[in-house]
Amino acid sequence: MTPKIRTYHEVDEIESSLPGQVAEAEGRVGARLASVERIVGVMSGKGGVGKSLMSAAIAASLARAGRRVGLLDADLNGPSAARMLGISAPLREDEACGVEPARSASGVRLMSMALLLDHDAALRWKDPVDAGFVWRGVQEREAVRQFFADVDWGALDVLIVDLPPGTQRLAELHGLVPDLDGAVAVTIPGRASVDAVARSLDLARSRGLPLLGLVENMSGLACDECGALTPLYEAEGGVDLAARFDVELIARLPFDRRLAAAADKGAIDEWLEGGGRLAEEIARIASRVAPGGERP
């Protein structure tokens, strides 16, 4: 006859090593970020609202002002920060210190999936049993964790995390980085985007995350001659959203053909160099992301 077998919780002579390994891996994120002063997520509810361009422009603007800036492109399946900042160099690594982030001309330290894949190659995971959907979320979270923990970010004034589109993304980031300092939300005036951002903001609030503000992008089309704005949407989505969630609408930005073209060419730095009202607006958003003066 089989004797009575102790239950899982009664058998405790040897601790399972799996939770310990997970905790150790998460702990490396905290250790790496100890020299980072601020961590800020840039989020949107839907894709195509210019969130990545905003992240890259804010990062470049801060770097040009002498701040030490990192940009972690967490949009693994649609990485675009490297292209916008004109970065394509291969990565160096040191076995002990980690992978060196790539650097833009203005000094933004970048890590992005785009740097690990061939141009135009999609991110595909090994999938020996054709059931990738089961663990895709885990693999992606692990990849972002490694972007934090295995990259030699060095001392930073701010690390900007360009989040993929989606309502849950900020909450997921917060799970990985409990010390997250806040988030900036990017929307366009249209209702579909506003509704999606509202859900993200609601979720952020429920987790007690500080919302640094809202940016309404593509508010209008600026006249090349006189600068007058023609609205692109009938809705005033950003204004409504800011009121509803009691967050600051930091800026309402026009669509700017020259900035879009500069981003396509990897020439955001040169575009910022040219100055103008939009560049000033971006500098103002940047100052909310990383308050504080120029580094001597």
């Binding site: 002579e13 040897i14 891996a25 076995e95 992978v99 690990l116 295995d150």
Partner: protein, 145 residues
Amino acid sequence: MKFLCVDCDRQMAFEERELPGDGTLAAVFRCPDCDRMTAMLTNPMETQLVSSLGVQVGGRTVPAANFEGIRSEVATGSEEAFVESPPSGPVRWNTDAVERLSHVPSFVRGMVKKIYNEYAKERGIEEMTPDIMDRARSDLGLEGM
């Protein structure tokens, strides 16, 4: 997951792990009292589930390398992603070992090199040779790599 030796009513301890390279995994556990061994065999789906988490059954034998999870699991990694890192650390690589390493795809080469270096360091081995690489592969259960 725990293994209990029913006869001795003792928890069995992890003994070794093998990755035959077909997506499956074997983990051997031993009873500290009667030395009876039992092997846990996982199918590719179960194996993948654990490796997606970046954990190893029975514990890590060497510390994780940079981007270990990404490099092991991304199928479309670029051969131009990393520049060859200069030799570092106390382990010297002989010409044959360097030659052998050069056949490892560049996307994972830095990771594989670190795993071998750690293996050698922990055992006080000063020079890396193809023989040591073979031993490490078998000891660390890297056959599938």
